[in-house]
């Protein structure tokens, strides 16, 4: 099962029954999980070490200034202990973030504005709606571009130009304009999310729809297949291996869009709002837990796409 999640190239997936099992090591499945999990854990441990060191380095001046100001001498153990447990540190230690997240989730019901789950739910709602709209727009644009070459010349420069406009500038404009039509809440955020989502989908889908080779197209020609049949039986399935990686990129970009869309709304709800209130009140731990939550949310969302991909393009790997 583990290899199914691996990249689709055979060279990238771990060898089946390699020397390890031949030497009486763990069973192949275990070995593969081990091979996949161990590097991730190693990197995590590395990040942890650097993080704790950075927390000491960044927070020490404040600790010295506030806690040890009237004391001529102090031990380095004491200093480190303080840098890892400050109330408003420059850089909170990982365990502080973890505890803050745990309390916010465990101490409050998921529908309370104090629960991070509530905010993650608000943001993922906007992300998913934006993602669906954006992927649909991207796919429709790609189909049109593939069928009408003139459209490609007319539309493609605009599509690319649209992505060079900073989303940070576009987001307040969209929210103000939609607000004047009394459209607030989910929809404006979803539209900003869509704005970032559609681009990778258009590019990948155009490439995918054009991926069938001469033989495949001529084969359909010899069957006297209609344009519709060629589209559904050849072009669409051929485009799926191109589409899914772009959907993973799109949903991650859409999440960023939704968070950015939450910033100018006056910070009512959502992970973006948590980021904003955190920085208003200098609550760095809250900022970091909202950040971590959005990273976890991104991982979950892309994992969902991978699950759908596995169900749809099971035999497509070569």
């Amino acid at each position: 099962m583990a290899t199914e999640l691996a990249p689709k190239t055979p060279s990238a997936s771990p060898p089946r029954g390699g020397s390890r099992s031949a030497w009486g090591g763990p069973a192949p499945t275990e070995a593969r999980i081990f091979d996949r999990v161990l590097p991730v854990l190693a990197v995590l441990a590395g990040i942890g070490v650097v993080w704790y060191l950075a927390a000491v380095w960044l927070n020490a001046p404040q600790v010295i200034e506030r806690v040890f100001a009237d004391r001529p001498s102090f031990g380095w153990r004491e200093l480190i202990g303080h840098t890892w447990s400050m109330d408003r540190p420059v850089l909170p230690a990982p365990h502080q973030i973890a505890l803050d997240m745990f309390h916010s989730i465990a101490d409050w019901p998921p529908d309370s504005p104090r629960s991070l789950l509530y905010h993650a739910g608000v943001t993922s709602g906007a992300t998913l709606l934006g993602f669906m709209l954006g992927s649909l727009l991207g796919a429709v644009l790609a189909v049109l571009i593939v069928h009408l070459p003139t459209l490609e010349r007319a539309v493609f420069p605009w599509i690319i130009a649209s992505q060079t406009v900073p989303v940070l500038a576009i987001a307040p404009i969209i929210i103000v304009i939609l607000g004047s039509f009394n459209l607030t809440g989910l929809l404006p955020k979803a539209l900003i999310s869509m704005y970032l989502c559609f681009f990778p989908v258009v590019v990948a889908m155009v490439k995918g729809l054009r991926s069938p080779g001469v033989f495949e197209r001529e084969l359909m020609h010899t069957y006297a297949a209609s344009k519709n049949q060629t589209f559904w039986k050849l072009r669409i399935p051929a485009s799926l291996p191109f589409l899914f990686p772009s959907l993973r990129v799109a949903i991650a970009a859409g999440l960023v869009g939704a968070i950015v869309g939450e910033l100018p709304t006056g910070a009512q709800a959502g992970l973006g709002a948590r980021l904003l209130t955190g920085s208003y009140y200098g609550n760095t731990v809250q900022i970091w837990s909202a950040l971590t939550m959005s990273a976890l949310l991104g991982l979950v969302l892309t994992a969902c796409i991978s699950l759908v991909e596995r169900a749809l393009v099971a035999g497509g790997k070569q």
């Binding site: 033989f215 084969l219 010899t222 069957y223 049949q229 050849l234 035999g315």
Partner: protein, 274 residues
């Protein structure tokens, strides 16, 4: 040793009087190029009777593939005419008169072997149930029973090409066109597939038009061999083969086979002198 192409118009009527499945008349194909157009085929005449196994052989650039592609309506004639079952090649294609096997298997990687063979049947509007039955039967005929659920990448090159032959035969076309189908395979696999193809032809007697540049392959498979020359593409000679229908690979050691191979070699060499 220059043989005028006009001479070959008589050749088709030599033996049986079965109707022509393919009739090529004064066919020329030329491609526009910078200074002058390139002539791929120059006034080619050929009639293919029902049940024949015809090989088109010649050096690269002789237009053998172009000839096949014009018959299949994959390329257009510049002048002259092509009739397939008495229809224009365009109408014949729309009537699904032929199966075509390409140089590469061109299997769809997202479909299993069975689903690949079912593809043309689906397109022709057969029910899934019917398609599955027919596809199974044709996979059995090419010796691939048990591989229905596999994906193309799990099969060897020779097996993939057999799937593509089963796919081309699935809708029972009277005419099978093959463009160097075994060209990319190793010689041992190629020999085995040649023998299987011959058995298939012997059993079903479909008309086969087979493009190759291999002398032994053409001599072994064909009931008639059309030798072509390059620049411009012309028919140099048409050689009838009288080898027994139930021949096996061992026939390649016999004088009768060697005589045909020798005639082919001579014809190809003469075509080269043009």
């Amino acid at each position: 040793m220059t043989t005028g192409h006009a001479a070959h118009e008589i050749a088709p009527s030599s033996s049986t009087a079965s109707p022509a499945v393919v009739e090529v008349r004064d066919l020329s194909v030329s491609y526009p190029a910078k200074d002058q157009s390139v002539v791929a085929l120059d006034r080619v005449n050929l009639a293919i009777r029902e049940g024949e196994f015809i090989s088109l052989i010649g050096p690269s650039g002789c237009g053998k593939t172009t000839l096949l592609r014009v018959i299949a309506d994959l390329e257009q004639a510049s002048s002259g005419s092509v009739l397939v079952n008495g229809m224009s090649s365009h109408d014949a294609r729309l009537a699904r008169a032929y199966g075509y096997v390409f140089q590469a298997p061109a299997l769809f990687p997202w479909r299993t072997v069975l689903q690949n063979v079912m593809l043309p049947l689906e397109i022709h509007g057969r029910s899934a149930e019917e398609g599955r039955t027919i596809a199974r039967e044709h996979l059995e005929r090419v010796g691939l029973t048990g591989f229905e659920g596999k994906y193309p990448w799990q099969l060897s090159g020779g097996m993939q090409q057999r799937v593509s032959i089963a796919r081309a035969l699935g809708f029972e076309p009277k005419l099978l066109m093959m463009d160097e189908p075994f060209g990319a395979l190793d010689e041992i696999t190629r020999d085995r597939l040649n023998e299987q193809l011959l058995r298939l032809w012997e059993r079903e007697r479909r008309t086969v038009v087979f493009v190759t540049h291999s002398i032994p392959e053409a001599a072994f498979l064909s009931s008639r061999i059309v030798v072509m020359s390059a620049r411009p593409g012309r028919i140099v000679e048409v050689i009838e083969s009288n080898l027994p229908a139930d021949r096996t690979l061992e026939i390649r050691e016999t004088p009768a086979f060697m005589k045909i191979a020798h005639r082919l070699r001579v014809a190809l060499a003469s075509g080269h002198g043009h």
